[in-house]
């Protein structure tokens, strides 16, 4: 079977899941199975098929599993968002359409994605600018002590970090392609550890500085970890030097510890992470209420979950029981309703997508393509780790989205661009192979 036919067949589970999911939510809502659930399923399947036909025409050799995996995640996401709020799900569907359009635009505009390298300095400047935006007075806003959003009054709200992550990966892939040989060549061994010349630590230092800046400026450990980890992963693949990673991680831990203990907002987050069930922290504004209730929600889910639409999200006649269920906390809602098994299925889907990304990187013939695919896959994986890790208390909680599942236009669009770039790299790599 050709790659594209495999892709088409793989879309079937996504559409089935979508229809079944909507049916489940409808039954729970009103005890009737409305044909609206089938309509939703059909429209969504239509969009997926449109995306598939487009890939068939433009990228015939691209990886056949990535798009169906994303369709699976997105269809699952839209069911979850619908279950939380039908209004948000309608908006999410619109974002999904816009995401698909941008996905097409990216593929058409950067058929030869290597020309992105020409714009690398513009891209990095724009990306850094985007990262700073939320701190600009007037348009930036703060949520839970972290600065991650930009609001243009009356127009839209968006999260620039979602776009910045793609830009930074493109820049670093291009930069490392040029410098990777030099960085390794000048290295010498001291006490059995390979130490590159100090001057080539430059990029590491810059990345480290960037991560610290994110933490200081945006008050956000999670985003910082996501960027830093993604870029460090690229550095490791580019140089094959574990010493870079070791030194880099050490520097990050020290920096994170210092900032975590000295910047009040970050400190609050760390406190909530360490003692979520402390009654005082629980009742404090910006305390551990959200995290504690995330844990309670997961406990309520158990092994198999309570079923679609069964999780308690609001206190009857009161406020939210689980704040931000459609964005930050969507993994907790998934665990509540589908249990440990459902949550593991979601994580496995992400892991499969990341595996396809890495496979693409291995198949690529030139360093830029490899580094680009590695960077995009790694930062995608780390985004999942940061938000799920935050919700499950592996690391302090951060307000990043769960890619393709959480509600949010920026996230959907940026991740569709990410998917487009990965498919472009993949098409080229597999055509040559």
């Amino acid at each position: 079977m050709s790659a594209r036919n495999r892709e088409l067949v793989c879309l079937i589970p996504a559409s089935l899941l979508l229809t079944a999911g909507f049916a489940g939510v409808f039954i729970q809502r009103s005890n009737v199975l409305s044909n609206v659930s089938l309509t939703y399923g059909a429209i969504f399947l239509g969009l997926c098929v449109a995306g598939h036909v487009f890939i068939r025409m433009t990228l015939p050799y691209a990886d056949p599993y990535m798009f169906p995996l994303v369709a699976l995640l997105a269809s699952f996401g839209i069911v979850m968002v619908y279950r939380i709020s039908p209004t948000l799900a309608r908006q999410q569907a619109q974002w999904f359409v816009l995401g698909l359009v941008l996905f097409g635009v990216t593929i058409v505009a950067f058929r030869d994605y290597r020309k992105l390298e020409q714009y690398r300095y513009i891209i990095v400047l724009v990306s850094l600018g985007l990262l700073i935006l939320p701190r600009l007075p007037g348009i930036g806003y703060q949520a839970n002590g972290a600065y991650l959003g930009v609001r243009i009054p009356g127009l839209f709200v968006f999260q620039p970090a979602e776009f910045a992550k793609v830009g930074l990966v493109i820049f670093l892939a291009s930069y490392l392609r040029d410098t990777r040989q030099v960085m390794v060549a000048g290295a010498r061994r001291i006490l059995g550890v390979t130490i590159p010349p100090i001057k080539y630590f430059g990029p590491v230092l810059i990345i480290w500085g960037l991560a610290m800046l994110i933490m200081l400026v945006l008050h956000d450990i999670g985003s910082s970890l996501m960027f830093y980890g993604g870029l460090l992963a690229m550095l490791y693949v580019a140089t094959s030097r574990l010493s870079f990673v070791t030194v880099g991680l050490l520097a990050f831990v020290i920096g994170a510890w210092y900032i975590g203990t000295h910047v009040p907002h970050v400190h609050d987050r760390v406190d909530a992470w360490l003692h979520p069930l402390d009654a005082q922290l629980y009742n404090k504004v910006g305390g551990s209420y959200q995290l504690a209730n995330s844990m309670f929600a997961q406990a309520a889910g158990g092994l198999f979950g309570q079923g679609f639409g069964e999780a308690a999200l609001n206190i009857p006649g009161g406020g939210p029981l689980l704040p931000a269920p459609q964005t930050d906390m969507i993994y907790a809602v998934i665990t509540d309703e589908l249990g440990l098994f459902g949550a593991c299925a979601v994580l496995l889907t992400y892991l499969l997508f990341v595996a396809r990304g890495f496979k693409t990187a291995q198949l690529s013939r030139d360093s830029f393509s490899t580094l680009l695919a590695v960077g995009l896959s790694a930062i995608f994986a780390l985004q999942v780790f940061v938000i799920v890790g935050g919700v499950t208390r592996v690391i302090p909680l951060t307000g990043v989205t769960l890619p393709f599942i959480s509600y949010g236009g920026s996230s959907i669009i940026a991740n569709f661009v990410l998917l487009a770039l990965l498919l472009l790299v993949s098409d080229r790599a597999r055509r040559e192979a």
Binding site: V237, A238, A299, A300, G317, G339, Q362, V374
Partner: protein, 473 residues
């Protein structure tokens, strides 16, 4: 660059494994602790979403049912409000509070399942509780309530053959739709099960049982009924200081002669008296299907209000034998005394609920009658019954007479308040028909202005017995 990529993927797999481990922690390993955490309001919200079963009276009257409220939750509605407020109680799931049957039969009402059905219960997340059927009789309950006519007091009626509670009235009462409303004549304190009243002469039934069943006396034993007599070193008089001379125990019960029964109690002794009191259920909370925190023990107390241990040498057993000496009882306990005599000496465990029925009409649980204790031999029971029958036929209990149905009973008139205040607590305990007892009652009224058990309590008992018997109990 393929080796570092493979290693990197290994690291990502490791990170995701970490996520799975942590998710397992909250969903499985720590789930129990998290579900029970004090900060966790989910259990409470789940509770709100359960459609609790109905509570149903003997004649099918619905005493409690669930009505839908906001966001898939339910609240409780009590159609009979005050009438059965004490027995039924209330349930406020939002605050995790409940009382009465709503509390004691909460598991059935919430549909808590056991065994095999709990596995299938997983498939139906919308929990619907079971209906709980009770033996409560609305008609007799109303009659009892009318009999008290707004006076503080209590009426308890049992079926002596099964222990089924037919009537449980306590005034003041409250509207269980609004359990927190305060006001004059409003109380959630259930006098039927929680009060500590002096039983007065009704307790002589216990003393008579101990005397006869222990073999120390017969109904025809003669004791000197002169007044006063020195009991525990302090003179004790009969009503109006009347002296009866040597009389039989039957006569002494018929005319409620204090000096005779005090001497009998002293002669029988602390040990034997305590043994029989325990058999009747004193010194322990009656095992009624009612919240233990809403049930009081019936037992003697010291003048300073401390509970005497059973058979304490400091208690005045003579005065306890006539229902004084610091004895504090609940109307439920006194109804149990009447019930034990009525049922041939066999005390049935009192109970409110008879069965639990699920939404499909299947009886999921039957609360079968059980014997609580064999208080006395059947022959003793027959003799004490005969004595109590005399009380109603020709003694202090004549107002309880019921035409051609013979009633056995005992009156009591405890002195309350300061000496000379003329405040009394009238009592009547009894059962009918004597040949085949179907109803046992205890009636008491608080702070009567000089009223007697015969004149104040007996007429109420008579009406309740009449109502219950006319229903073909």
């Amino acid at each position: 660059m393929n080796v570092p990529i493979a290693r990197l993927f290994g690291v990502i797999v490791l990170l995701f494994a970490l996520l799975v481990v942590w998710t397992s922690r909250w969903t499985v390993f720590d789930a129990g602790a998290l579900n029970n955490d004090v900060l966790n309001r989910r259990t409470l919200i789940d509770e709100l979403k359960i459609k609790r079963g109905r509570i149903i009276a003997d004649d099918g009257t619905v005493l409690a049912r669930s009505v839908p409220a906001a966001a898939g939750t339910y609240t409780r509605f009590y159609p009979t409000s005050n009438l059965f407020a004490h027995a039924v109680g209330y349930s406020i799931a939002a605050q995790g509070r409940s009382a009465g049957l709503e509390r004691s039969r909460g598991d059935a009402l919430r549909g808590v399942q056991t065994g095999l059905s709990s596995i299938f219960g997983q498939l139906t997340p919308h929990r619907v509780g079971d209906d709980v059927y009770t033996s409560l009789d609305p008609k007799a309950q109303r009659v009892a309530l009318q009999g008290l006519a707004g006076r503080a007091g209590s009426v308890v009626a049992l079926d002596p053959r099964t222990g089924a509670v037919k009537v449980m009235v306590a005034l003041p009462d409250y509207n269980n739709n609004h359990p927190d409303a305060k006001g004059v004549g409003v109380s959630t304190f259930n006098r039927a099960t929680q009060s500590g009243y002096p039983p007065g002469s009704t307790f002589k039934v216990v003393t008579a049982t101990a005397a006869i069943d222990s073999g120390e006396y017969t109904p025809n034993s003669v004791v000197n009924g002169d007044s006063p007599k020195t009991i525990s070193g302090v003179p004790l008089s009969n009503d109006l200081n009347q002296s009866f001379g040597p009389i039989t125990l039957t006569k002494a019960l018929t005319y409620s002669v204090n000096t005779v029964w005090a001497q009998v109690a002293e002669h029988v002794g602390r040990g034997t008296m305590t043994k029989y009191m325990k058999r009747f259920g004193f010194y322990a909370k009656p095992p009624l299907d009612y919240p233990p925190e809403q049930i009081a023990e019936s037992r003697p107390y010291s003048p300073t209000g401390r509970a005497y241990p059973p058979a304490s040498p400091r208690e005045d057993i003579g005065r306890i034998g006539i229902g004084q000496g610091g004895l504090a009882v609940t109307p439920l306990q006194m109804a149990m005394v009447a019930s034990a005599v009525a049922d041939g000496g066999k005390l049935m465990t009192p109970r409110l609920a008879t069965k639990a029925v699920d939404q499909d009409g299947r009886t999921v649980q039957t609360y079968k009658p059980s014997v609580m204790s064999q208080v006395m031999s059947p022959s003793t029971a027959a003799q004490v019954t005969q004595m109590m029958k005399n009380v109603v036929e020709e003694g202090t209990g004549t107002p309880a007479q019921l035409g051609n149905i013979s009633v056995a009973g005992k009156t009591g008139t405890a002195q309350v308040g300061i000496v000379g205040s003329n405040l009394t607590q009238p009592w009547f305990i009894g059962f009918a028909p004597v040949e085949d007892p179907k109803v046992a009652v205890a009636v008491t009224v608080e702070r009567s202005q000089g009223g007697f058990g015969g004149t104040v309590a007996a007429p109420i008992a008579k009406q309740v017995i009449q109502t219950l018997l006319s229903e073909g109990q």
